[in-house]
């Protein structure tokens, strides 16, 4: 690694903005180590179907405040997540590969306001945030492939014009 190479510095700066990979491990693993992520993804996908998180109707109900279901799921998830982070920090837990666990802090930028609002608009009509998009496709709604491609296009357009957007 040459940390003073200009393209690497730029790379790190753009990555820190949304904390992508800033804590990434230096360890190199063979590709099949990713089976652990596939396994949890499968569990996540099953939960998304069985608790109807991928359902457009459930998301609609949530935004109409007509059901506690989705609020219960997100609220419980945050509580379990927060408790886990607390325990990890208190016990100085290590990863299974012996590395120190590090959670990067997010720095505020105006995108957290404008971008998040735009995402909210999209979430309420597609009935899906990015995770459930993949779940909807797996559940057999093949037309959602179009929604996913459009979301990828949206991410690309953001990357293309990000210098011109207020941050």
């Amino acid at each position: 690694m040459k940390p003073n190479a200009p393209h690497l510095t730029l790379d790190l700066r753009t990555r820190e903005l949304d904390t992508i990979g800033v804590n990434e491990s230096d360890l190199r693993h063979p590709w099949w180590y990713n089976v652990k992520f596939v396994a949890w993804g499968i569990l996540f996908g099953i939960v998304a179907v069985k608790a109807e998180i991928l359902s457009w109707f459930r998301i609609h109900e949530m935004f109409r405040f007509e059901s506690f279901h989705m609020f219960g799921i997100i609220g419980t998830a945050v509580m379990v997540g927060a408790l886990s982070v607390l325990v990890i920090k208190r016990t100085n837990a290590k990863t299974i590969h012996g590395e120190t666990i590090h959670i990067p802090s997010k720095t505020f930028n105006q995108g957290n306001i404008y971008g998040a609002f735009i995402f909210g608009l999209g979430w309420a009509i597609t009935g899906a945030c990015p995770g459930p998009l993949f779940a909807q496709i797996g559940a057999g709604y093949s037309v959602v492939v179009v929604t996913l491609l459009s979301a990828i296009a949206g991410t690309w357009v953001y990357g293309r014009f990000r210098e011109k957007l207020p941050h």
Partner: protein, 187 residues
């Protein structure tokens, strides 16, 4: 046992499993939970076009693509082998209002009147799927994350920018659902 699994799962079971994603990812690989980044990695892998935002070693982030691949697979498994034949139980007020707005079929997970290939080429279908998807992809990246990255991971680690983002995307959803959606459903 299988009978129990086949029934719809209550919110607290789903909430606990989704919450446990946070420590699982941290412990097995020092990864922070966030799913919208996978869209960025697809851009970096397939269409970087020399844009600095997509010029990074995406292969090191490939775990996220394996994770979302697993989500699709898990959903397939659940629908084919663990599904409950009964229709989704919506709040009565929700299904009544939707029926009045033309969404009568609430038997499956998605409104059949909108999310189909035949509806894709209507103005309404185009707005729901193509424009909606674009807003999800653009908005999550501009906002720095989605429900998993901000609401769950961000709030769990007490990051105030994530609280701002969560409030803003809930607000966006409320504005769409209450003010804009009734007009779109009438198209």
């Amino acid at each position: 046992m299988l009978e129990l699994i086949r029934q719809p799962w209550p919110w607290y079971v789903a909430g606990v499993i989704i919450g446990l994603t946070v420590p699982y990812l941290l412990i097995i690989g020092n990864k922070t939970f966030g799913l919208s980044s996978s869209l960025r990695h697809v851009c970096a892998a397939c269409i970087p076009a020399g844009i600095p935002f997509f010029r990074y070693a995406w292969k090191k982030e490939a775990w996220s693509l394996f994770f979302v691949g697993g989500i699709a697979l898990g959903a397939y498994i659940a629908v084919h082998w663990l599904s409950d034949p009964a229709p989704i139980r919506l709040a009565a007020s929700t299904s009544e209002r939707l029926a009045a707005q033309g969404l009568i079929d609430t038997s499956s997970l998605m409104p059949a009147e909108i999310f189909s290939w035949s509806s894709l080429f209507t103005l309404r279908g185009f707005l729901f799927m193509v424009v909606g998807g674009f807003m999800v992809g653009f908005g999550t990246r501009y906002g720095g994350g989605c429900t998993s990255g901000h609401a769950i991971m961000g709030l769990s680690s007490l990051q105030w920018p994530s609280l701002v983002a969560t409030i803003m995307f809930m607000l966006g959803g409320v504005v769409m659902t209450w003010l804009i959606l009734p007009l779109l459903l009438g198209l």
